[in-house]
C-alpha cells in the first residue's frame, strides 16, 4: 500500500477557524514573537486543522503519520491574521510525487476572511517514507 495518487487535486471540506486571543498568546510565547499581534506562522494552526488532520484521517490516501517528515513549508501573506477574526481554511492535495521508498505529498491550504478574500496561502510538503 502506497500513497493513492488518484487523490491528487482532492480538496477537503473547508474548516472554520476562530483566531482566539489566548491561543495566539500561547503561540507567540512558544516562538518568542517580539512584535505583538498574531505571529505570521500562527497560520499553521488553521492549516493543520484543515489539512494534516484530514489527510491523516483519510483512509483512501493511505498516509501513516509515523512515516512522515516535514520537508518544506511556504507561506504567502496578504496581511497578518487578526485576533478575534474567523477564517475558513481549505486544503487541497496539490501533488503526490516521487517513486520508490520516498514520496512527496504537497498540500496547499488557503485561509480566507469572511468576504472570501485570501489572507494566507500555505504550501506544505511532507516527505513520506514507504517500506519497499
Amino acid at each position: 500500500m502506497g500513497l493513492n495518487e488518484a487523490l491528487q487535486g482532492t480538496s477537503y471540506p473547508p474548516v472554520t477557524f476562530v483566531v482566539q486571543e489566548q491561543r495566539v498568546r500561547a503561540f507567540a510565547a512558544a516562538v518568542a514573537d517580539p512584535c505583538g499581534g498574531v505571529p505570521p506562522t500562527f497560520a499553521t494552526a488553521p492549516e493543520i486543522a484543515a489539512g494534516l488532520t484530514n489527510v491523516i484521517a483519510d483512509p483512501e490516501l493511505g498516509l501513516d503519520l509515523a512515516s512522515v517528515l516535514h520537508g518544506e513549508q511556504e507561506y504567502t501573506w496578504t496581511r497578518p491574521l487578526r485576533v478575534g477574526e474567523t477564517v475558513t481554511a481549505e486544503a487541497t492535495i496539490e501533488s503526490i510525487r516521487g517513486r520508490g521508498s520516498t514520496r512527496f505529498l504537497t498540500l496547499r491550504t488557503v485561509l480566507r476572511e469572511a468576504s472570501g478574500e485570501t489572507v494566507v496561502v500555505g504550501r506544505s510538503t511532507l516527505i513520506v517514507r514507504e517500506d519497499g
Binding site: 503561540f27 512584535c35 506562522t41 486543522a49 507561506y75 501573506w77 497578518p80
Partner: protein, 140 residues
C-alpha cells in the same frame, strides 16, 4: 514601523538571534499549533524513529526564525512570503541560531529578499535545520 528601504544593504547580515530549545516551549508549541504528533512529545516514539529523543517541530523552528525576521523587518505586516526547507532535526536543550542575509532589493516594489537559515552546533559540527530558504519583506 517597517524597516526603511534606505536602511537595507544587499549582502549585509540582517539579523541573528539565538534561542535554547526546551521541552516546555515545544509542548506549548504543540498545544498552540494543534500539531500533536508524538514524535515531538514522546521520547520512545522518537527513538523508534531513529532519533535520540524528541524532535522539535519543523514549524516551531520556522516560527522562531519568523520571529527573528519580523523583529528585524518591523512587524508581521512586513512579511510577504517565506519558503523554507527542513534539512536536519533539532533536539531538546540545543541552541538554535536563526539568521538572515539580504540577497536582493527591489527599489520599485520596495521589498527585500533575504536568505534565511537556522543552524545548530552539534558534536563539534554545524548542522543546518533550515537552509536554502528565503523570505520576502515589504520595506517603508
Amino acid at each position: 514601523m517597517s524597516r526603511r528601504f534606505e536602511d537595507v544593504t544587499v549582502g549585509a547580515k540582517a539579523f541573528e538571534v539565538s534561542r535554547v530549545v526546551t521541552r516546555e516551549d515545544v509542548k506549548a508549541y504543540a498545544d498552540a499549533s494543534g500539531d500533536q504528533n508524538p514524535l515531538h512529545q514522546d521520547d520512545e516514539v522518537a527513538r523508534a524513529a531513529g532519533f535520540p529523543g524528541i524532535v522539535a517541530h519543523g514549524m516551531y523552528t520556522m516560527g522562531t526564525l519568523a520571529s527573528g525576521l519580523v523583529g528585524w523587518a518591523g512587524g508581521a505586516e512586513a512579511l510577504v512570503r517565506m519558503k523554507v526547507q527542513f534539512r536536519a532535526p533539532v533536539f531538546m536543550g540545543e541552541t538554535i541560531v536563526c539568521g538572515g542575509t539580504v540577497r536582493s532589493v527591489d527599489p520599485v516594489a520596495h521589498t527585500a529578499t533575504l536568505d534565511v537559515w537556522v543552524r545548530v552546533e552539534r558534536d563539534g559540527t554545524t548542522e543546518w535545520p533550515i537552509r536554502k530558504s528565503e523570505a520576502e519583506v515589504r520595506l517603508a
